[in-house]
């Protein structure tokens, strides 16, 4: 399986209200990330837009329907379609989530939590290996935000994710907001989570806003909060170079606002590099 070279860039998720900026202007980003499923279509405007954007920017494919944690196996038709779009646009990499979305009969269209058991570990490792074999490349797996854990959990999420990485050779997309949200919801220390991961496998970092509350919800509908910026600084002093981006999926503001937010990430990354050099 091919090695994925680190890429230290700053990007945004490509969302419909901003298409015209990316098509008609020069947007100051190093890459864009697209939701794979939105472009796994037969033809028409979505593919025309993606082709045009790819002509100007590096693209990462980020999926939500691989369902690698599904005990019913991976959907090979889905994988074939994903492979087709990957061959068309040659993304820098393909990512999905440490989760499951469907049973044998039905699809929840949500990133559902896994029990962190040895059985689930075997299932997800087998599915990731199959996916990587079909796609002929290693995947990046993203840590999810979650709202519940299971009584039968045998290990912590970071231990589970680290073991998936070790067994399958996949890389990590570290969503700093998801660590922050899950730490709040399940009462663990976010830095303990980060420290428990094989940080040399992190190739991409997601940043997003969430709705605070007794149970915090990963809504992607507001700016990144101070606690997540602090955690990003902690992460970036420990990882190697990584591609950092802002995810906004609801209440999408003008592009300029997201670029301002991305500038904060650039500044934090520059400071982290200086700190690493000084150390």
């Amino acid at each position: 399986m091919t090695h994925i070279q680190p890429f230290a860039g700053f990007g945004l998720g490509l969302r419909r209200p901003h298409y015209h900026h990316f098509l008609e202007e020069e947007v100051d980003v190093d890459f864009v990330e697209v939701i794979s499923e939105n472009f796994m279509v037969d033809g028409g405007k979505p593919l025309a837009v993606l082709d045009a954007v790819r002509g100007k920017h590096d693209v990462m494919l980020h999926g939500v329907s691989l369902s690698p944690g599904s005990a019913h196996g991976v959907d090979r038709d889905y994988l074939i379609r994903l492979k087709a779009i990957a061959e068309r646009i040659e993304p820098r990499w393909i990512s999905d989530h440490l989760c499951w979305t469907r049973s044998s009969a039905h699809n929840s269209h949500d990133l559902l939590p896994l029990p962190y058991t040895t059985e689930a570990l075997d299932v997800i490792c087998e599915n990731v290996m199959i996916a990587q074999d079909v796609l002929q490349r290693p995947l990046l797996l993203e840590n999810p935000s979650s709202y519940m854990t299971f009584p039968q959990d045998e290990m912590d999420e970071w231990e589970f994710l680290a073991e998936v990485t070790r067994r399958t050779g996949c890389y990590l997309l570290l969503d700093v907001n998801n660590v922050y949200v899950s730490a709040h919801n399940h009462g663990f220390n976010a830095r303990t989570y980060v420290d428990g991961l094989p940080l040399d496998r992190v190739r991409q970092i997601h940043l997003a806003g969430h709705t605070p509350g007794e149970i915090a919800i990963d809504t992607h509908d507001r700016e990144v909060c101070g606690g997540v910026w602090d955690l990003l600084a902690y992460v970036l002093t420990r990882t190697g170079p990584a591609a950092v981006m802002i995810e906004r999926d609801d209440a999408i503001p003008p592009l300029a606002e997201l670029l301002d937010e991305l500038a904060i990430a650039r500044r934090i990354a520059a400071e982290a590099r200086q700190e690493a050099v000084a150390a």
């Binding site: 499923e37 033809g43 959907d75 499951w100 049973s103 269209h109 709202y147 519940m148 149970i215």
Partner: protein, 287 residues
Amino acid sequence: MTLARQQSRFIAGLMSDDAPLPEDWQARERAGYEIYRSAYRARLIEALRETYPRTARLAGEDAFHAAAAHHLISHPPRSWTLDDAGQGFAQTLEALFPDDPDVAELAWIEWAMQAAFTARDAVPFDGTAMVAATAAFDDRAWQDLRLAFMPGLAVRRVRHNASALWNRLGEDAGDEDIALARSLPALPEMRGCVIWREGLKATFTTVNAAEAQALTAMKAGTGYGAACDMLTDLLGEEQALRMAGEMLARWLAHGWIENILSQIPVDTAQGTVRKGCNLTVRNSLPG
């Protein structure tokens, strides 16, 4: 309990409040699970609203919400793409709103427009290519002519003014527009609604019911001769002869035809050849 069984139960619980939750779940697990349960419903109903915005305005928000919830129970999503969650919704609405067939008709249009929007890219067959391809056709070859239509092209008969409904119920529709759309009377006679993609834009037009029937039949693989017979049965020979050529010319002009599927070798020794269709077509073809 195996992971497979656990996941099946987890999803069953998202879809039904009555599904039992594991006994070893305490208040904390149940509170977290409720978030997944409400997110599942909200996300899917929102997906239907995004696919069917005009239908939602026509039916009214409460009625649409109830219909969408009903549809998700009777047709829980199976596909990996959220876009498919609205599959079959027009049929659900047909059953739920038997006295308001315009609701289901509009839903069918919105669904077909979405399908056309992302259909496979193809280059339409133009009039010049058609003239060249059929230059040597005799009556038998015209009879046997079959057509491949552009990906995403869809047709059905409608009882309501599709254009008026569509235009009244756009994104900027106010209460008055919606009220006017709801009060539109049924058409004096059935029409056909045809949906296709022009370049990157999905669009639709209406045709008379006989043409819709011929188009439906040819889309299903019927030959041109049999489609002409159908027109003759519906309209009488004189009108059918005129329409057969006009309709083929219109299909070409709109870019509905992707290719000629088959040109069966001419064998004049077999069967009876119907007269007329070929000349009418030749006189009507563009280019």
